[in-house]
Symmetry: C2
Subunit: 327 residues, 2 copies
DNA sequence: CTGAAAGCGCTAACAC
DNA sequence: GTGTTAGCGCTTTCAG
């Protein structure tokens, strides 16, 4: 910057003004500065600038499980889009469901002085403890939680109506006279899974239907496991007449096995997915608007960054039942 | 840091040493410093640190079209994973296929003094001009290009064998006696699309098959458009007996229309996709390893960051033919 | 092994 | 309108 100033025959501060589009600079001087900038290939150091000016690194941090997962990719895309409108960059960090890693990454993000944090908590057993963020939040790094609530921290949170959605879906099955409904889930340690299971039970209890624990299968980690569980359940003496899959990876396996067996069991699935309409099995999907969730959270975050100090709020977004699959 | 030093009764520099795990600090002093750090809730300012120490922001920039697209999400995930092993954060920016925006974002990333750049060029007509990066690269910000070549810049590049893959796939169709092969593509302006089309023509020319321009349809932007084009082509007096879809969004539409009509046309498709095995139509897919591509590029980038000044190289990764779909 | 001083590149606060 | 001075939080350099 000093070089530019020398070359343009002005002071360092004037260069700073020009580079930052500050008002009250003579056009003539500005032009000379711009010329010098071009000649010298000068590029402003954003780090130094935000070091001096206190906050405003024009960067927000997003902490998720893993970027490659389409659900998180959608969240990241939405957050990036909104951030872009404010000339803010997005740093994405993946916790891979590890609370220790999550905490490290969050601390690192704070050390980089991001303007705010968007967090999908790692959902492993016990959940993560986010109390260490309290200090950061008070020091001016707001945090908004997405999809899952924070652990031990009062903060803005945007959730889906997992319980309500599951309840409504299972009510549909019950109304179609299903009583033996198998439920397949990934991990009961994850908040969303617990909520969805609770919703299913709500509907069953309401209907006075028996709740058979043997029909609930936890630990279904991938499509292959789902196929095995479906096969096993269907070979029982009193097989379920309906399946409720609590996430879309499980749904893939369930569909494949039901299709293979030309089963006529009903299928209810949490999470919509691209291609759901092309799947060779009729199913009812509990869909939601991932982008709306991410948008809400990101807007909430920017409101905080802009100085909103009101009481933290929790927003719950609705789900919707949709018919999918080829019939 | 000064506060911590005061509290621990040491100099500022000693705090710096302790915080950075530097050797040659008396354990006793270190302990006092750590205690003070904990009491005061001190957190090192990463920005200030890398401002003074020259480079090493432990951040790399990734420029892609859009994060929400699974292809780019996979690239981002792989890059983030490798970066993590080096305690490096990843800033992701989306160009949305706009070369102007691309350039802005790249400049901004440089202004943030990222240690290196991973770039999937915006593929719009004419391609982008990356010559403005030459200065940055020379100033020590290495760049590696992915999936598409750079415009007017010699740099490390990792590509897929688009042409070879398409050639091999179409050879298969030709060997199965197909002569009227329709080709559907998104935009001829994108490098990968041109290469794929060239590969198809290679195979046709080899076989002495007629090349019918009316069977090549550019501008098929989404699945709905693909459906319309398929419908129209099938209603011609001499309909194609095979379809070659140049990307997976197009493939979705083609599958849907062929399935709907219970057609027996052969389908060849560039890009594998999750759920391809569940698609209700037999198809041959030209698959490739996106993660390998991203891994290769990211490793190349870190080698540059570590000081490799050898001649830029271009790596081309192979594709593979795979049978998919329900038969 | 530890500390004092200088300064990374920039901007806030003020004087001119 | 423009320049000067100080200093953001840290690390480098070099003296002890």
């Amino acid at each position: 910057m000093a070089d530019v100033a020398a070359r343009a025959g002005v002071s360092l501060k004037t260069v700073s003004r020009v580079v930052n589009d500050a008002p009250y600079v003579q056009p003539e001087l500005a032009e000379r500065v711009l010329a010098a900038v071009a000649e010298l290939g000068f590029r402003r150091n954003h780090l130094a600038s935000s070091l001096r000016s206190g906050q405003a690194t024009a960067t927000i941090g997003l902490l998720i499980e893993e970027i490659a997962n389409p659900f998180y990719a959608t969240i990241a895309g939405t957050a990036a889009e909104i951030a872009r409108q404010r000339d803010t960059m997005l740093i994405i960090a993946s916790s891979e469901e590890d609370p220790v890693r999550e905490q490290q990454l969050l601390r690192d993000l704070c050390a980089r002085r991001v303007d705010g944090l968007l967090i999908v908590p790692a959902g492993s057993p016990g959940g993560s403890d986010h109390s260490f963020l309290r200090a950061e939040v008070e020091l001016g790094t707001p945090a908004v939680f997405l999809d899952r609530p924070a652990g031990n921290l009062r903060a803005d949170t945007v959730l889906l109506d997992n319980r309500g959605g599951a309840r409504e879906g299972v009510r549909g099955l019950v109304a179609a006279s299903h009583r033996r409904i198998a439920v397949l889930l990934d991990s009961i340690g994850v908040h969303t899974m617990r909520e969805r299971l609770d919703g299913a039970q709500d509907a069953l209890v309401e209907a006075g239907a028996p709740y058979d624990e043997r029909l609930v299968r936890d630990g279904v980690r991938d499509p292959a496991a789902a196929r095995r569980v479906v096969a096993e359940l269907l070979e029982r003496p009193d097989p379920p007449t309906a399946f409720f899959s609590l996430n879309n990876r499980i749904t893939l396996g369930v569909v494949e096995e039901l299709y293979r067996r030309r089963s006529d069991a009903a299928l209810l699935a949490f999470d919509d997915f691209e291609l759901a309409r092309l799947v060779p099995y009729p199913l009812t999907v509990i869909a939601y608007d991932t982008r709306a969730m991410a948008r809400t959270a990101t807007e909430l975050l920017f409101r905080r960054i802009d100085g909103d100090r009101s009481w933290p709020r929790t927003v719950t977004l609705p789900t919707e039942l949709v018919e999918r699959g080829l019939r």
